[in-house]
Amino acid sequence: MELIIEEITYGHKLLGRHKFSSNNITIGRGYDNDVIISDPHVCADHLQLHFDGEHWFVNDQGSINGSYLEGRKNNIIQHKIQSGDIISIGKSQVRFVFPNHPVVESVTISPFESMINLARHPFVLALSMLLFASIACWIIDLNNAKEVTAFQLLVPTIGLMLGFALWPACVALVSHLTKHDAHFWTQIGISFIFFNLMWLSDIFENIVQFNTSSNFSMIWLITIIPLVLAFGLFWLNCYVGFHMTPRRRNVVSVGLVVLLFGGSFVIQMSKKPDFNPRPQFNTTIMSPSFLFTPSNNVQSFVSDSSALFEQAAKAAEKDKKD
């Protein structure tokens, strides 16, 4: 019976695949073997396989480091091969498969995939980068109290774009280095679409902050949006750049979100003074065209404010006890 031998890494990544129709096969570091493994921990004549007409058997040839079925500790002597068996030799692994070994069902190409490819389309790519540039320009102008010329805006805008392009470039580089396709333009396209979404969510957050009073208790919902967007970006970066199980992809993306937001949270907390003598309040003010909410009257503002005195008095009492 034909036998397929796969050289795999400890992470079960395929390195090479050989198909044999003879009844005797040898594996080892020596050049006389059928499968040559250049691992210094493997002996010149390490494993021998033999077909008795009905079953394949495998035997260790008295190697120094031994041969073990994955997960077990006994040296292999006259082991009857089952399809899918993995045997560790030295610091390498080989896997034996019979031709009738079942394969998983074919995966249909999802419409999602074509959407990802759309991000790479030159038109979409140009559009999202142009949008990014114009928002960046606008924000730089807003933050500049003095009058600014187009040239003064150009340099920081290009700088900002290059800075933001570093992330997808790094992801593409890492996937290239780990023997995956780099997908550079896809990563750029996806990242800039998400960067734009983050700008927009920022503007949206400002509008909501402007239109709500501190009585609005759902404001935390708004702060979740950037978390969700960052998760989406990292998830797609992984999806495009690396072959991963869905579970692993989720874990990696959540990990990156925690690292990014948790890290900046920790930095903020470490800078926070023990006692802040300045009042901290929501300072958002915008042009009247962004105001959609009806106004309150003085009486209700004053009665809302009176609740603060109780809070402050309670805090003073608590501090005094401490």
Binding site: M286, S287, S305, S306, A312, A315, A316
Partner: protein
């Protein structure tokens, strides 16, 4: 020439007469004058000094509250001691304070009846010669002649304007008239030859109240005084005439009382400015000293009008927003004195008004004086594309009801012209 000579001679003679009189007064009063020292227990050295004078035969000594404020706030950290004209030192105990008028009464142990200063019954006449006594910069007791110039007009709590050098270390020393009666207590200086005194009647009131019944605890006494004082101040302010003045296209309230003074500034001289800005602020000219890092009793109002036809509405408000990050409290206070601010914000349009504001109100509580707070309000108009008006006030050391009454009146007063 003859006339000039006569004039010169006359000047010299009056001058020498004044010096002689000052010397006489000093000799007579020296035994009842003290240097008051706050001794830091841990280091055993003096951490602050001031002057004091005996006001009763059984050893009561008057001084400034700010001289002994360290002890009043942290009795475990300091001892109070006196140093008399013969170089004797001994401990003093704190009996009573008036934190608003910066007075304190301390007591020394006495073995026999001692001489003391008489407190005058009448205020001096304007121009009357007075003599300020004290120990400036730890240099020894001196006497400084000067003139009574009436009560300071811009002061909510009465202060005498004294033309004469009052230096640090003389704080708490008495100011007497020719008859050696105390008419004031040295309290502050405003530079060359301008000194401020606490009028004698404040000390008399504190002394008499002490004789009727000493305070249960200094902290409670201070809390009650701060509470009464803020109530008197805010009630006076609320009942005064609130004049509406024009600032840009806005109308802003200013309070027509002498002790709240207003100042203004604008950038109208800068033709290339993107935003035209005009600022007016009004504040109370005094505050209450509680300790060197804790002041209260301040009142401040600020208005800022900005207009621009050079930049877009979004940028205009964005630049305006950045100014809000600079908001700081009007008084100095630390972690041991107050809580952190609690804030509330909303969009508010007063009924029957033409202005729509983003309004923010913040308050923090005093830890040692219950029911006293610092409050802060900011309103920024958000109803016009190209111009906006910021109205702001902070008051320190106020009660809830008085500050909310002020808030209501303030919010309803600011409007568009």
């Amino acid at each position: 020439m003859k006339a000039l000579f006569a004039l010169l001679l006359m000047c010299i003679s009056t001058l020498s007469f004044a010096v002689e009189q000052a010397e006489e007064i000093f000799k007579q009063l020296a035994p009842s004058l003290y240097q008051i020292r706050l001794i830091d227990k841990a280091s055993g050295e003096k951490s602050s000094i001031g002057s004091g004078f005996q006001i009763s035969s059984d050893g009561l000594i008057a001084t400034n509250y700010h001289v002994i404020s360290g002890y009043a706030r942290h009795p475990n950290k300091y001892n109070i001691e006196y140093l008399d004209n013969e170089g004797n030192q001994a401990a003093l105990s704190l009996r009573s304070v008036d934190v608003i008028n910066d007075l304190a009464i301390v007591q020394r142990d006495v073995t026999s009846e001692m001489s003391f200063f008489d407190i005058a019954e009448l205020a001096p006449a304007k121009g009357e010669e007075l003599y300020s006594l004290g120990n400036p910069h730890d240099l020894g007791m001196i006497v400084v002649p000067g003139t009574y110039n009436g009560l300071k007009n811009e002061s909510f709590n009465d202060r005498i304007h004294f033309t004469g050098s009052v230096n640090s270390g003389m704080s708490g020393g008495p100011v007497v008239n020719k008859n050696t009666q105390v008419v004031g207590i040295n309290v502050a200086t405003s530079g060359n030859q301008i000194g401020f005194l606490v009028p004698h009647d404040k000390l008399l009131a504190l002394y008499q109240a002490y004789k009727v019944g000493p305070p249960e605890s200094i902290e409670q006494q201070m809390a009650a005084q701060l509470m009464r004082s803020q109530d008197k101040l805010i009630t006076t302010v609320l009942n005064s005439n609130w004049q509406l003045k024009q600032l840009g296209r806005g109308l802003i309230p200013t309070i027509d009382v002498p002790f709240i003074r207003c100042w203004g500034e604008s950038n109208s001289d800068k033709a290339d400015a993107q935003i035209m800005a005009a600022v007016a602020n009004c504040d109370l000219d005094e505050n209450t000293f509680i300790s060197s890092d804790f002041f209260t009793g301040s009142l401040e109002m600020e208005y800022r009008y900005m207009e621009s036809n050079k930049i877009g509405s979004t940028k205009f408000y964005h630049i305006f927003e950045r100014q809000l990050n600079q908001v700081a409290p009007g008084n100095k206070a630390g972690k041991d004195d107050v809580t952190e601010y609690q804030c509330h914000h909303d969009i508010v349009e007063p009924t029957d008004s033409n202005i729509n504001n983003k309004a923010v109100f913040c308050t923090r509580a005093y830890k040692d004086f219950p029911e006293l707070f610092d409050v802060m309000y900011i309103g920024i108009s958000i109803d016009h594309e190209q111009y906006a008006l910021l109205s702001h006030f902070t008051i320190s050391g106020v009660a809830q009801d008085t500050s909310l009454a002020f808030l209501t009146k303030f919010m309803e007063s600011v409007k568009w012209n």
